[in-house]
């Protein structure tokens, strides 16, 4: 790393900007849910699922709901083939296109087509090992583990409510098989807080 100018890097309050705060949150999102669009085009299979999956990825990150994010783009022509326009499942919140997308993300976590380093962590294991039975306990545990300045109570309860909503239950331990995704969403939310920027 070379310093930007002879003055070196900025420090104190001047280094954090509105734009950088957002970028740091986006980085946390890339850590918990790997960015798949960096994969070069020729690494995707020849059939048109590659561009489809990337479009799904972009739309989900723009905050679209799963049904509209996975809706096939009509009449997209790729290499002379029509894109998959599987209309049967498209209005479901979980569908094959979303499943395929998550499959890609999971695959990218495991396969290393190019040299790089991905964070390897298992939040579900963390939660199960400490028997964190309620959303409040999970938020509290993450906060003590990752923060040096505590979150205010409103934010804490918003986060706990969001986790409960995502899990579909307040009984965290019963959600062992599928809690990893919701826990990663929670971690992204927490690492994006202004409080987290205070080391």
């Amino acid at each position: 790393m070379h310093p930007p100018t002879v003055a070196g890097w900025s420090y104190g309050r001047s280094w954090i900007t509105p734009s950088l705060l957002i970028e740091r949150g986006n980085f946390a999102l890339d850590v918990v849910f790997p960015d798949i669009v960096f994969v070069p085009n020729d690494r995707y299979p020849e059939y048109p699922s590659g561009p489809e999956i990337r479009a799904v990825h972009r739309r989900l990150r723009d905050g679209e709901d799963i049904a509209s994010a996975t809706r096939p783009v009509d009449a997209v022509q790729v290499d002379g083939m029509m894109s998959m326009s599987n209309t049967v499942d498209r209005d479901e919140a979980f569908n094959t296109r979303y499943g395929s997308y998550r499959g890609w993300q999971t695959a990218i976590e495991r396969v290393k087509p190019i040299v790089r380093h991905l964070a390897n962590f298992n939040l579900a294991k963390m939660v199960m090992a400490r028997e964190l039975a309620t959303p409040v306990a999970v938020v509290d545990y993450f906060m003590h583990r990752f923060f040096s300045v505590p979150l205010d109570l409103t934010t804490q309860s918003m986060l706990a409510d969001a986790l409960e909503h995502d899990l579909g239950t307040g009984a965290v331990l019963s959600a062992e098989t599928y809690m990893e995704g919701p826990l990663r969403v929670l971690l992204h939310l927490m690492l994006s807080r202004p409080e987290y920027q205070l080391g």
Binding site: S14, T17, P18, S19, L20, G25, M158
Partner: protein, 402 residues
């Protein structure tokens, strides 16, 4: 006093305050009034040529033989200069500024500086940023100007396009919007995350640094979507030169009708620090800067903002009058500043420093306190009428906008 303009503003606020009318539902008449009120608000863009631009090789006093004696290797020969008049010629890189000069839209202020000049980039730049030579200030002069223009925090009032926040824009009241790449000024988030990511704690006072971060978070929330949208919608046929320029981003924000009155941008990476092999490099840097300024003002003309926008250019210091042994120049003192825009009365202002009576370090001795040019921008251009307060002293403006 209630004049027509404040009445218009109050009417617009009243409509908004009722929450009944969105922008698109306003009557055409009300919309026309609002647009007129907005048009009257003048915009200043400060353009920092960081690194210490060599003023003597920017605007060359070619009729003075001393210049060629001081710079036998890197002095620019009269035949290569873009002539302004019988005494002065532009560096050949400044074609864009020459056009502005020919149109009478460029003011050159000679000999700008301050007492006991610092030769450190950081110290001198801090003096210029705070407008407090040989002392300092907690806030930047541009931030203090924003405070004088609007005594309550306004969203997107002050924009600094850069990777880090400049000291110049540090304000007591306003949170400057700071971004570099509009395309990356975007919160990536899943649907269920949005509300929580947008939430900012408004219980201030627990921790000063956290308060600051919460203001930054609020600024990010209020600005990012607007600026990304502005950038996505911005298309211009105007040529800004071959180098990427922050001026395009300023133009995008202005074209999108952001309420920003103050923009602050800098030439990146301390680039004007030309100690070695200066001539070609300096000419190239000047052409990037000048093409961008010319393109920007031309673009403002295109979108109907030419009467409302002015660009002010400065550098933290000039360079030493004699060249060094590496075909370059070292850190110096007095330098020129420039103001460009349709409302500018073009010409020379201030007293050019003597090339003979140099100080002990062979530097040009300043003839104009640089804060007089700041005062010109504050009171002459923006008509704030508070230069004394902002600059903490009396500095006579030049009649550049008279």
């Amino acid at each position: 006093m209630l004049n027509r303009r404040t009445l218009l503003k109050r009417t617009a606020q009243g409509l908004g305050g009722l929450g009944l009318f969105s922008g698109s539902l306003l009557s055409p008449v009300a919309r026309a009034f609002a647009a007129e009120a907005a048009r009257e608000d003048r915009i200043l863009v400060v353009f920092e040529l960081s690194g210490g631009n060599d003023g003597l090789n920017t605007v060359v006093p070619f009729s003075d033989d001393t210049y060629y004696r001081l710079r036998p290797q890197i002095g620019i020969r009269p035949a290569d200069l873009l002539k302004l008049d019988d005494d002065w010629g532009f560096n050949p890189g400044l074609l864009g500024l020459q056009r502005l000069w020919n149109d009478g839209q460029l003011a050159i202020v000679h000999g700008c500086g301050y007492e006991r000049p610092s030769f450190s980039h950081f110290t001198s730049m801090a003096y210029w940023h705070t407008a407090s030579p040989n002392s300092g200030d907690e806030y930047g002069w541009y931030g203090r100007l924003a405070d004088a223009m609007a005594s309550e925090a306004r969203a997107n009032f002050l924009i600094n396009i850069d990777t880090a926040q400049s000291l110049a824009v540090k304000s007591r009241i306003h949170t400057p919007v700071v971004f570099d790449d509009p395309e990356r000024f975007k919160r990536n988030a899943l649907l269920q995350e949005k509300a929580i990511l947008d939430y900012v704690d408004d219980q201030f006072g627990k921790n000063a640094t956290l308060d600051y971060l919460n203001l930054v978070a609020r600024g990010a929330r209020e600005a990012s979507a607007l600026i990304r949208q502005a950038w996505a919608n911005y298309r211009s046929p105007i040529d800004y030169g071959i180098a990427p320029s922050q001026f395009r981003k300023v133009a995008a924000c202005i074209a999108a009708g952001l309420p920003t009155r103050l923009y602050y941008i800098a030439f990146p990476n301390n680039a004007f620090d030309t100690h070695v092999q200066q001539p070609d490099l300096h000419r190239r840097l000047l052409s990037y800067a000048s093409d961008a300024v010319h393109g920007f003002l031309h673009d403002m003309e295109r979108i109907g903002y030419a009467d409302r926008v002015c660009v002010m250019m400065f550098s933290e210091f000039g360079r030493r009058a004699p060249e060094n042994a590496n075909l370059g120049t070292d850190h110096g003192a007095a330098n020129l500043m420039m103001l460009a825009g349709k409302a500018v009365h073009g010409g020379h202002y201030g007293e050019p420093p003597s090339l003979v009576d140099l100080d002990d370090g062979d530097n040009l001795i300043y003839t104009t306190d640089f804060r007089r040019v700041y005062a010109t921008a504050i009171d002459g251009w923006l008509k704030v009428g508070a230069a004394d307060t902002v600059l903490k002293g009396r500095f006579d403006p030049f009649p550049i906008f008279a």
